[in-house]
């Protein structure tokens, strides 16, 4: 089931100067499946936050459509199934943690009979049980972020939008938030994550999309995008220096690594199979063959570079 589907979504901010309108999101089409963790990558000003705000109807699209849970996306009752952690949030400082969750939980449609239990559960989930009666203005940035995360999940939403959830958080806090997100993932929640911390996205997300200046430039499964299908590593059970390595490998673009591994570079699948045949002829024990993975950061930088190059 598609939890979110956007079709040609466009947001143009008009400018008083003729011809200088700003296209924050440009004909963006994407789909997020149920139970997946989707990462939206892009630099500052790429249009990531604008896209989330469009989907949450905080801003109106100039053109294009979107659906949530296969229903027209602008229906405000659907937001009962959505949680949102904004990037630059400001929790009303006069509220205590408990009051904040009470008001925002009530507005999320939680039954008043259960709200107190839900508040306790959620505070415990984000590790703020001991601070329940403290005013938000006394909270550190990390605690405020966790409290805000709590308001995003208190009503047990099916789809959660997180805009830079670890921004400004120390490494320990980041790990805690990441673990919390993985827990949500295990519960089968669909998570839409905006982040420019790519290592984090790589750890959590199933699929990603990269946007640049409002345009979607790449999307796919993280495993597909990071796999480099023209480079393979072949792990063997032999010390390749002891066999006739240079003989069978001479026709291939290979590098010996750690004495027992061969890295086959810039080759087709056919070539890989021929190399395997040669190695088996030499009675070399093949333990594992895998494509060499690139990091998401490398993919991101390459993609943006290609995109900018294509524009110029």
């Amino acid at each position: 089931m598609s939890v979110l589907q956007a079709t040609n979504l466009t947001k143009v901010y008009p400018s008083p100067f003729k011809g200088s309108n700003i296209k924050a999101v440009d004909s963006l089409t994407l789909e997020v499946g149920e139970g997946t963790v989707f990462g939206l990558l892009g630099g500052n000003g790429a249009g990531k936050t604008t896209l989330i705000k469009l989907i949450l109807s905080i801003i109106k699209p100039t053109s294009g459509t979107f659906t949530l849970f296969e229903q027209p996306g602008n229906r405000h009752d659907l937001r009962a199934r959505i949680g949102y952690l904004p990037e630059n949030h400001r929790i009303p400082p006069f509220l205590t943690a408990k009051e904040f969750l009470y008001y925002f939980g009530s507005l999320s449609g939680i039954d008043p009979a259960y709200i107190k239990t839900k508040i306790e559960e959620t505070l415990s989930l984000v590790g703020l049980s001991l601070q329940r009666d403290k005013k938000v203005k006394t909270f550190s940035k990390g605690m405020q972020q966790r409290l805000c995360l709590a308001q995003a999940v208190i009503h047990n939403p099916d789809l959660i939008f997180l805009d830079e959830p670890t921004d400004g958080i120390d490494p320990v806090g980041r790990k805690e938030i990441r673990d919390f997100l993985l827990e949500l993932k295990n519960q089968g929640k669909t998570i839409f994550l905006n982040s420019h911390i790519l290592s984090e996205v790589e750890l959590i997300c199933d699929s990603v999309a990269i946007i640049n200046k409002g345009v979607l430039v790449k999307k796919g499964l993280v495993s597909d995008l990071t796999a480099n299908y023209d480079e393979y590593v072949i792990k063997t059970g032999n010390d390749l220096r002891e066999v006739n390595y240079s003989g069978f490998a001479s026709g291939f673009n290979v590098i010996l690594k750690n004495n027992s591994e061969l890295v086959l570079q810039k080759s087709e699948l056919e070539e890989l199979n021929r190399l395997i045949d040669e190695m088996r002829k030499q009675n070399i024990l093949i333990k594992e063959i895998s494509p060499i993975r690139k990091t998401l950061e490398e993919i991101y930088i390459t993609t943006l570079g290609e995109n900018e190059g294509a524009k110029n």
Partner: protein
């Protein structure tokens, strides 16, 4: 309705945390205390007994006390209306709640419900304060003079209606300008200058022609806060609050239309 009630509760909690509301409530309490002390030291009756000839007092006692009621009503009307805008001016969305508005708008609450909740939350705070101050002062004067003039209490709804009309105008103004300064200034200009002048200008015979038409047009379009105030004074004096329906109807119509316009802007606005 549940959503509106939740937004009202949130707005009241927000207001209670503000020093402005505390100061506003403290000033209101001060008025009541001052009236109470004034009555305790030298009650209105003893003042009347000492200064009004007995032959007049014999027949006009109730009228004289009603004049006292009217003077107090005038003062209370102006004072409470003058101050009322401060504690609730920030309820216009996007002014004081930048940063939390995104979170609020992502909730399953319609924008019209949200705006209505904010507006009603403001009216509730101001209305409760009006009711408290005016009822307390009425009780003090009535108990001390043994003359009960319930028409005095008509100041509460009349004052609230005047406030509701001008407060409704703050929503579209605040949403368009992104600041509550314009709204507050407009509130005072209409309350203190424009509306009283329009009331005088509309009834004055020396204005004729185009000028008269312009004055009349503004007079009919804008809320009649000055006229509602004078009706409230009349009610305190004579006990007949509904002598004129036009100010009530046009002010109500203004309130509804302006607030609906505020909703229209809020529905369309990007945050």
């Amino acid at each position: 309705m549940k959503n509106i009630a939740n937004v009202i509760k949130y707005s009241i909690r927000e207001a209670l945390s503000s020093k402005i509301l505390i100061s506003y409530l403290a000033l209101s309490l001060l008025i009541v205390v001052v009236v109470l002390i004034a009555v305790a030291i030298k009650g209105p009756l003893s003042y009347i007994d000492e200064n009004i000839p007995p032959e007049i007092l014999e027949t006009e006692k109730t009228s004289i006390i009603n004049i006292i009621f009217a003077v107090v009503a005038g003062f209370l009307s102006f004072f409470t209306s003058f101050l009322a805008i401060f504690p609730v001016a920030g309820f216009v969305p996007g002014i004081n709640d930048k940063g939390s508005l995104d979170m609020l708008l992502s909730k399953p609450v319609g924008r019209s419900e949200f705006l209505t909740g904010r507006y009603l939350g403001g009216l509730l705070i101001v209305g409760v304060n009006f009711a408290f101050v005016i009822t307390a002062v009425w009780l003090i004067i009535s108990v001390s003079t043994s003359i009960w003039n319930p028409s005095f209490l008509y100041i509460i709804p009349f004052n609230l209606l005047s406030f509701a009309a001008l407060y409704a105008l703050m929503f579209p103004l605040g949403l368009i300008t992104g600041s509550n300064l314009t709204g507050i200034l407009t509130y005072f200009i209409l309350l203190i200058i424009v509306n009283p002048l329009l009331l005088i200008g509309h009834s004055a015979e020396k204005f004729t022609g185009v000028l008269k038409t312009v004055i009349s047009a503004f007079y009919y379009v804008l809320p009649k806060t000055a006229e509602l105030g004078s009706t409230a004074l009349d009610s305190a004096l004579k006990g007949d609050p509904f002598s004129q329906f036009l100010p009530l109807i046009t002010t109500l119509a203004f309130t509804v239309l302006v607030f609906l316009y505020g909703i229209f802007i809020f529905e369309k606005k990007d945050f």
